[in-house]
């Protein structure tokens, strides 16, 4: 199980995946918006999305868990 965390505080701009979806390593799963720029969050490894912890518009802090990937 891998948790994808926010690299910095910001607002969730888009959620590009759904629970159950298979993602490839390097795929952008979430885009955050912070300080007038979009910050893509990529899957570090390939896997299946088991949980999405945020919604579009949510404010997240650095290190908040955004998405969980499973086998």
């Amino acid at each position: 199980m891998t948790q994808l965390k926010s690299t910095m505080a910001g607002t969730v701009f888009t959620v590009n995946v759904a629970v159950g979806e298979e993602v490839a390593a390097g795929q952008v799963v979430i885009v955050l918006e912070s300080m007038k720029m979009e910050i893509p969050v990529e899957a570090e490894i390939a896997g299946k999305v088991t949980a999405i912890n945020v919604n579009v518009g949510d404010f997240v802090n650095e290190n908040d868990v955004l998405v969980t990937l499973g086998e």
Partner: protein, 447 residues
């Protein structure tokens, strides 16, 4: 006007307050919870909390801001730049309420905010525009067909966009196919309008803009040009006036086109006409910004005028302080550096607490438009601009020399800033000889 509410934050709010104080005008600040301890809040004569940190819940709440202005007896609202400054609905609500919106008419904001429409207006006024579509492109097929006739690379842009947001450069049909839907949906999300259009991407270009000013009596003047080609993510980092490496003949064409553009919309108050200048000195209208620009201080330093004072005079219904074009003269050279809380190499934002902020020096001709105090917090909710450093010299070389010396003395600690980038750019050959293009930072970061 005796009392002005400033619907903005940071350095621009402080900068507007300073002019108001000099003119004997009372000021009202509005602020979010995150900005409670910012200098502009204490500098204003009165300050009111408007909401939580996100701009949608604070600085963009036009109705609440207008209510405070009415309740507190303000007779004008200065919107600064960004936020509500180019919101036509807000501008007309302010006027309807009997207050002065310190900026152009709501109709002009609407006309120039629609990039597709403004291109047509400018074409009709014989102002050269970047080759591109006269209307928006409806579908990907449409976009591909148009791009073929224009030739790659192209820029795919949101009609309602601006400030470097909502645009993507496409090198090929494949890139255009990949980007089309996302630019459209971003346009919808950011600007509430998914109309997109295509422009030719002009390579080896310079971004040159002309400051213009108009009044109710129909006077329109320009205050020369600014070169804003040092950009990252289509957002400016260093600006200068006058522009190096531009012939007097090209400058005159730019001034004339800017005046024509302003006349075409009966422009009132401060505005900026942005142009792209290609390697053959052909000029193309890009967009018109219906507000005070971030980089307006370089124009103030070379002309000697206070543009916020001019804005207030025009909003009062007075004529321009100087309405004869020949009376507006250039003196020396000015550079502006935008000090951002960001990584100087990746340009990623770096919020945090400013534990040390030393921007003073013994060098003359340096102006600091500062937004933060020592121990101030740069929060992730807003643009990462900390301060603007404006350096004036008798010549461009002198201004560059002073800038180098200044940045050796500056100390900002607690977060990352882009100050080291300034020194690098100041030593770049293409910057020194003034031939740099909008590619300067991209080329530099590849090194």
């Amino acid at each position: 006007m005796k009392k002005i509410l400033i619907a903005n934050r940071g350095e621009i709010a402080s900068r507007i307050i300073h002019t108001c104080k000099r003119l004997g005008i009372e000021t009202i600040a509005v602020h979010s919870e995150a900005d409670e301890h910012m200098p502009f809040v204490t500098e204003a004569d009165a300050a009111f909390l408007i909401g939580p940190p996100p701009v949608q819940q604070s600085y963009l709440k036009g109705e609440e801001i207008l209510e405070i202005a009415l309740r507190e007896g303000a007779d004008g609202i200065h919107p600064g730049y960004g936020l509500l400054s180019e919101n036509a609905e807000f501008a007309s609500r302010v006027s309807e309420a009997g207050l002065k919106f310190i900026g152009p008419d709501a109709l002009t904001i609407t006309e120039m905010g629609d990039k597709v429409g403004s291109r047509s207006t400018m074409k009709a006024a014989s102002v050269p525009v970047v080759p591109g579509t006269d209307d928006g492109v409806e579908s990907l097929e449409d976009a591909i067909r148009v791009a073929k006739t224009i030739g790659y690379p192209i820029m795919l842009k949101a009609s309602a966009g601006g400030g470097g947001v909502g645009m993507v450069r496409c090198e090929s049909e494949q890139a255009l196919s990949q980007q089309f839907d996302s630019v459209k949906s971003r346009a919808k999300m950011y600007f509430g309008n998914d109309l997109v259009f295509i422009e030719k991407y002009i390579t080896n270009a310079r971004h040159i803009e002309v400051q213009i000013f108009g009044d109710d009596a129909g006077n329109i003047v320009h205050l020369f040009e600014r070169n804003c080609s040092v950009q990252r993510r289509n957002q400016k980092v260093i600006e200068e006036s006058p522009s190096p490496n531009l012939s007097a003949e090209t400058k005159n064409r730019l001034y004339q086109a800017a005046i024509d553009a302003a006349k075409a919309v009966n422009y009132k108050n401060a505005g900026t006409v942005e142009f792209i200048v290609d390697e053959n000195d052909e000029i193309y209208f890009l967009e018109m910004n219906t507000r005070l620009q971030v980089e307006h201080p370089v124009t103030e330093e070379v002309t000697g005028y206070d543009l916020v004072e001019w804005q207030i005079e025009v909003a009062r219904g007075n004529e321009l302080p100087v309405k004869n074009q020949d009376d507006i003269q250039l003196n020396g050279h000015a550079l502006e550096f935008r000090v951002y809380a960001e990584d100087p190499k990746t340009f990623m934002p770096s919020p945090g607490t400013i534990t040390k902020l030393k921007l003073q020096s013994d060098i003359d001709g340096i102006r600091i438009d500062n937004g933060y105090a020592e121990n101030g917090k740069v929060t992730p909710f807003y643009d990462p601009l900390i301060s603007k450093v404006i350096v004036h010299g008798n010549t461009r070389d002198e201004a560059i020399e002073k800038s180098k010396r200044f940045f050796e003395q500056v100390e900002i600690e607690g977060l990352k800033t882009n100050i080291s980038l300034f020194t690098e750019v100041l030593n770049e050959e293409s910057f020194k000889d003034g031939t740099y293009t909008t590619a300067i930072l991209t080329d530099w970061s590849k090194k």
